[in-house]
């Protein structure tokens, strides 16, 4: 198994661990962190699989990942601000299931 596939499988591991944490944890900060880890896994898969083209990696996935990182950072900032607003108005940092209220 080549190095590209090793790193891609580690990316799959990051993605699934992030998905598990996203489902299990109720606290929104943990959910945001989990989404970021899932995103890092996807970036890792893209970058790793780009190496399959030989000595010079395929530049198109690399360009997509660069774009994706900046979008992920800005989306995270927006999500954190939303969480802070929720915390300021309701005193909680979790989403409440309406059916239980």
């Amino acid at each position: 198994m080549s190095l590209a596939f090793t790193y891609a499988l580690i990316g799959v591991g990051l993605f699934t661990m992030g998905l598990y944490a996203l489902i299990v944890h109720a606290h929104l900060l943990r959910k945001i962190l989990a989404l970021n880890i899932m995103g890092s896994g996807v970036f890792m898969i893209l970058v790793a699989l780009a190496k399959r083209s030989g000595d010079v990696p395929d530049p198109v996935p690399h360009a997509m990942v660069i774009t994706g990182i900046v979008v992920a950072v800005s989306a995270t900032a927006l999500a954190l601000t939303l969480m802070l607003k929720l915390n300021a108005t309701s005193g909680r940092a979790t989403l409440v299931d309406d059916r239980q209220d």
């Binding site: 499988l9 591991g13 699934t16 780009a50 198109v60 997509m64 774009t67 950072v73 800005s74």
Partner: protein, 236 residues
């Protein structure tokens, strides 16, 4: 007996939660195995688009393939991506949060570190911007370094002058997307296609675009870190 113990399990919320967690872990592991199988079933050699990029690299105005893809071949994506950054900042500002500056005095270590590092970071950003034409680097990397310099300054207690917070800040925030849109419209008029640079001037155009994008990305990231409209804080 077994009936009773089942009843006991289903009535204890902690045990149900633990069972659900195990179930979720099993499902997610199953998904991971499927994904791993899919990735391993991909061909081990795939040229992708690298040949196409290499063939057209000489017309792109730069020699680094990633920069060529970002700013030339897929310039449209980068244009929209700049708009996404701006939208995120508009979303943060629209939530109406005041900028939460902490006015604690920074320790001597942070203060000295900021003084030492910020000039270096600005120089590294300029270098990354310039080197992006022929080696790994470019607007996004340079913009991130610039944003990090801004965050460091904000952490060390530096506050931008209020006179710069209204129009000048907005001008700097939109200069990247605006330069992109202007060049896109220019090429639309002159060559009939969005972002189809003339081959002779492509390198210069890309450098101008990257410089504008670097400044916008850096300032947008620092503004996102502040987390609110800076003006609000001054008016409070």
């Amino acid at each position: 007996m077994s009936d009773q113990s089942k009843q006991g399990i289903s009535n204890d919320p902690a045990q149900i939660a633990a069972l659900v967690r195990v179930l979720i872990a099993l499902l997610v592991t199953g998904l991971g195995v499927v994904l791993a199988y899919v990735i391993l079933s991909l061909p081990s050699v795939a040229v992708g688009l690298s040949q196409v990029v290499n063939v057209h690299l000489q017309q792109s105005g730069v020699t680094n393939p990633v920069t060529a893809v970002l700013l030339n071949f897929r310039g449209y994506d980068t244009l929209l991506e700049m708009v996404v950054l701006l939208l995120a900042l508009m979303g943060v500002w629209a939530l109406g949060g005041a900028a939460h500056f902490h006015d604690d005095a920074p320790g001597p270590v942070l203060n000295t570190l900021a003084r030492l590092l910020v000039p270096v970071l600005i120089m590294v950003a300029a270098y990354l911007l310039w080197v992006g034409a022929h080696a790994p680097g470019g607007a996004f990397q340079a913009g991130s370094v610039l944003g990090a310099a801004g965050v460091l300054l904000l952490l060390a207690g530096w506050r931008p002058p209020i006179a710069l917070m209204a129009l000048p800040l907005r001008f700097v925030l939109v200069i990247g997307p605006a330069a992109f849109v202007a060049i896109a419209l220019g090429t639309l008029v002159s060559k009939g296609q969005l972002l189809a640079y003339p081959v002779n001037n492509a390198g210069l155009l890309i450098l101008v675009l990257e410089a504008a994008a670097t400044v916008s990305i850096g300032v947008t990231l620092a503004a996102l870190f502040v987390g609110g409209q800076p003006q609000d804080e001054q008016h409070k």
